[in-house]
Amino acid sequence: MRTTTGNPRTQPADTPRWSRRAKALGVVTFVALALVATGCGALMMPFHHSMGFDAGSRPTGEREYGFGDRLSKTGLYRVRAETPEPIRVGRIHEMRVHVETADGRPAEDATLSVDGGMPDHGHGLPTHPQVTAHLGGGEYLVEGMKYNMGGWWVVRVRIESASGADEVVFNLNL
C-alpha cells in the first residue's frame, strides 16, 4: 500500500523539510563557490616568467651564497662559475662555468643550460642566457646573464654529458 507521508511531491512547498533542503543546497553552493573563489585566488600567485623549478628555501649561511664550488644534485659534477667583474644589478654580463666530473676531470663536451630567478617573487631571469663557447678544459662561456633587482636570486645550471645528466643551483644575494 502506498503511503503519502515522506513523499516530497505531496508536501506543501513551505514545509520545514523543503526549506531545509533549499537552505542546505544554498549553503553547499555558497561554500563551493567560495572554495572556487579562494582556489582561484590562491592560484593567482605572482606568476610571471615562472622559474620552472623548485629552488628550495633561502640559504641561511653566508657561505651558501655565491658561485663557488658546488656538487651537483646527484653528485655527478662539481661546478663553479665566475664573472669577469663583480656582479652589478641591471647590467648584462657573461660568466664562465667550470664543470668537472665527480672524480675531478674536466667535463668536456657537456651541454649546459642556464636559467634562474627570484623564488620570493616567482619570476625568472629577465634574459635568456646561452652558452656561446666551449673554452676547453671543462670551461664554458655563458652570455646574457642579468639580474634586474637586488635580493635573493637562484641560478640553475643543468649539465648533460657522457657522464650523465644533473643540475646545480647557486644562490646569490645581490
Binding site: 617573487h121 652570455e143 633587482m149
Partner: protein
C-alpha cells in the same frame, strides 16, 4: 571670553603644538640595516657613468651633439614642416608633453615618454621595440601621425640645410638630385610606391643617411640626465649620520612614504636603482582605452625589436659581434610579456602627469590608488597584488614621490632651442614652478 582666557588657550595650544612636533620628530624610527642597503642603491650618485653605445660610433662626438641639437628642434623634419622632436619632447616639461596621447601631424596611440636619462636603458618606448636611442629617434620621424615624413625627404633636407655638418661627421651624402622628393617604407601610398621604385643601392644609401640622423639625435639626447632630488640630499645626510639635517630634508610623512615605497607598497620591486626603474617590462593591470587599437605591449615590442633594420645587429649599427648582448639574449617569449610595459623612471615623476602608456591615470593620487586596488589586467596577468594601504599611507606614498623632484641636468644651451636666448627659455635646474601635470 575674557582676554586672559584667550591668552591661556593660545599658550596651551602653542605648547601642545611644539610638544607634538617635538615628539613626532623624536619618534621618527631609524632605518634598519636592510632598509639602508636598499636606500643606498636608489641614490643618484650610484648611477653608473654614461655607458658607451657601441652601435653608435658618434655617440660621444661633440659635433654630433651639436648637429643632433639642431635637428631635435627643427620643425622642417616633418611632413608638414611643423613638427620637431621638441614638439612632444618639450624641454620645459622634462622633455615630454603632459598629455595622454601625443599630437604630431596626427594623434598617437601612446603617451610621450621623457627622453631624459634614457641612455641608461637598453630598451626604448613603452614596449621596448627599439634597442638604442638612435634607432628610437627614427621611429617617430616616419610615423604617419608623429612627424609624418620619410627618409628620402629628410635626406633632401640634410642636403639643403646641413650638408657641411653632416659630411664632416659621416662622409659624403649620396647624389640626391635624381632621387624622388619623398620616398620611404611608410604607409603613405605615393611615398611607398616611390620607395619600391628606387634602386636597392639608393634605398640603402638613403637609409644610411637616415640612420646617421638618428645617431646625431642620440648624441644630443645622451647629454640629458637627471640631477639630485631632495631624496638624494636626504640620503646624503642620513648616511653621514647628520640626523638633524636629514629631518630638514624629508618630512615625517615623506619618510613614511619612503618606508612604504621600499616596504609594504613594494614599489622598489620594479622601481629600483638610481633611476627608479629596472628597465624591464611588467604587466601592472593598466586598463585598456576604449577607441584605441589593441595594445599588446612587450609581446609585440619584442618581435618588432628583433625585426628592426636599425637594431644593434643590423647593417646600420656600428656594433661588433661581441656587442648587443641585450638583444641577442633578450627574453622574447612568454605570457608575462602580454600587456607588459617598460617601468618608467620616477625621477621628476610629479611633473610628468598623466601616467601610464596611454595616460590612463591622471594624477599621482590615481596611480597610488591603482596600485593599492590592483585591478585585473584587460589581457595577460597583472603582477600587482592588493596592498590594503590606509588613506594616510597612500598620502604619505604620494608625498614621497613628490620628493623625487630631480631636475633635468645638461649643459644649459642644450636645454633650449639652438640660438635661443637664455632669457627667453627656462633652464633645467632653475625651472619655474611648472604646475602642469601636478
Amino acid at each position: 571670553m575674557k582676554k586672559e582666557g584667550w591668552k591661556a588657550m593660545l599658550a596651551t595650544a602653542v605648547v601642545l603644538a611644539v610638544a607634538c612636533a617635538a615628539t613626532t620628530r623624536l619618534d621618527a624610527p631609524a632605518w634598519t640595516p636592510g632598509e639602508l642597503e636598499t636606500l643606498r642603491s636608489l641614490r643618484i650618485g650610484t648611477l653608473e657613468p654614461l655607458p658607451p653605445d657601441p652601435s653608435n660610433r658618434w655617440a660621444d662626438d661633440e659635433r654630433a651633439v651639436a648637429l643632433g641639437h639642431r635637428l631635435f628642434f627643427d620643425t622642417r623634419l616633418s611632413g608638414n614642416g611643423e613638427v620637431s622632436c621638441a614638439t612632444c619632447h618639450r624641454p620645459e616639461l622634462q622633455f615630454q608633453d603632459g598629455t595622454p596621447l601625443a599630437a604630431g601631424v596626427g594623434t598617437t596611440d601612446r603617451r610621450t615618454m621623457t627622453v631624459v636619462a634614457t641612455a641608461h636603458s637598453p630598451w626604448l618606448f613603452w614596449d621596448g621595440r627599439k634597442d638604442s636611442q638612435w634607432s628610437q629617434a627614427l621611429g617617430p620621424l616616419e610615423s604617419p601621425v608623429e612627424h609624418g615624413g620619410d627618409r628620402t625627404r629628410y635626406a633632401h633636407l640634410v642636403g639643403r640645410h646641413y650638408r657641411v655638418e653632416y659630411e664632416a661627421l659621416f662622409g659624403a651624402l649620396p647624389e640626391l638630385d635624381r632621387l624622388p622628393p619623398s620616398a620611404g617604407p611608410v604607409p603613405d601610398p605615393a611615398a611607398s610606391r616611390a620607395w619600391s621604385a628606387m634602386a636597392a643601392g639608393d634605398r640603402e644609401a638613403v637609409s644610411l643617411v637616415y640612420a646617421n640622423l638618428g645617431k646625431a639625435l642620440a648624441a644630443y639626447q645622451r647629454r640629458l640626465e637627471f640631477g639630485p632630488a631632495r631624496f638624494d640630499r636626504y640620503m646624503e645626510a642620513v648616511l653621514a649620520g647628520e640626523d638633524e639635517r636629514a629631518r630638514g630634508l624629508l618630512t615625517p610623512q615623506e619618510e613614511e612614504g619612503l618606508r612604504l615605497f621600499i616596504g609594504k607598497a613594494q614599489c622598489v620591486t620594479c622601481h629600483n636603482g638610481p633611476l627608479f626603474t629596472d628597465n624591464f617590462f611588467h604587466n601592472t593591470g593598466v586598463p585598456a582605452v576604449r577607441g584605441l587599437p589593441e595594445d599588446r605591449g612587450r609581446a609585440l615590442g619584442a618581435i618588432q625589436v628583433q625585426e628592426d633594420e636599425f637594431n644593434c645587429v643590423g647593417p646600420f649599427s656600428d656594433a661588433g659581434p661581441r656587442d648587443c648582448a641585450e638583444l641577442r639574449f633578450m627574453a622574447a617569449e612568454g605570457d608575462e610579456l602580454l600587456r607588459a610595459y617598460k617601468t618608467p623612471t620616477l625621477r621628476g615623476v610629479a611633473r610628468r602627469a598623466p601616467y601610464m602608456h596611454a595616460g590612463q591615470l591622471s594624477t599621482l593620487t590615481d596611480v597610488v590608488r591603482h596600485y593599492d586596488r590592483a585591478p585585473r589586467a584587460p589581457a595577460g596577468r597583472s603582477e600587482l597584488r592588493r596592498l590594503r594601504l590606509s588613506q594616510s599611507e597612500r598620502t604619505a606614498l604620494e608625498a614621497f614621490l613628490r620628493a623625487l623632484d630631480s631636475p633635468v641636468e645638461a649643459p644649459p644651451e642644450l636645454l633650449r632651442a639652438p640660438g635661443e636666448d637664455a632669457a627667453a627659455a627656462d633652464d633645467g635646474p632653475h625651472d619655474s614652478l611648472d604646475q602642469t601635470g601636478g
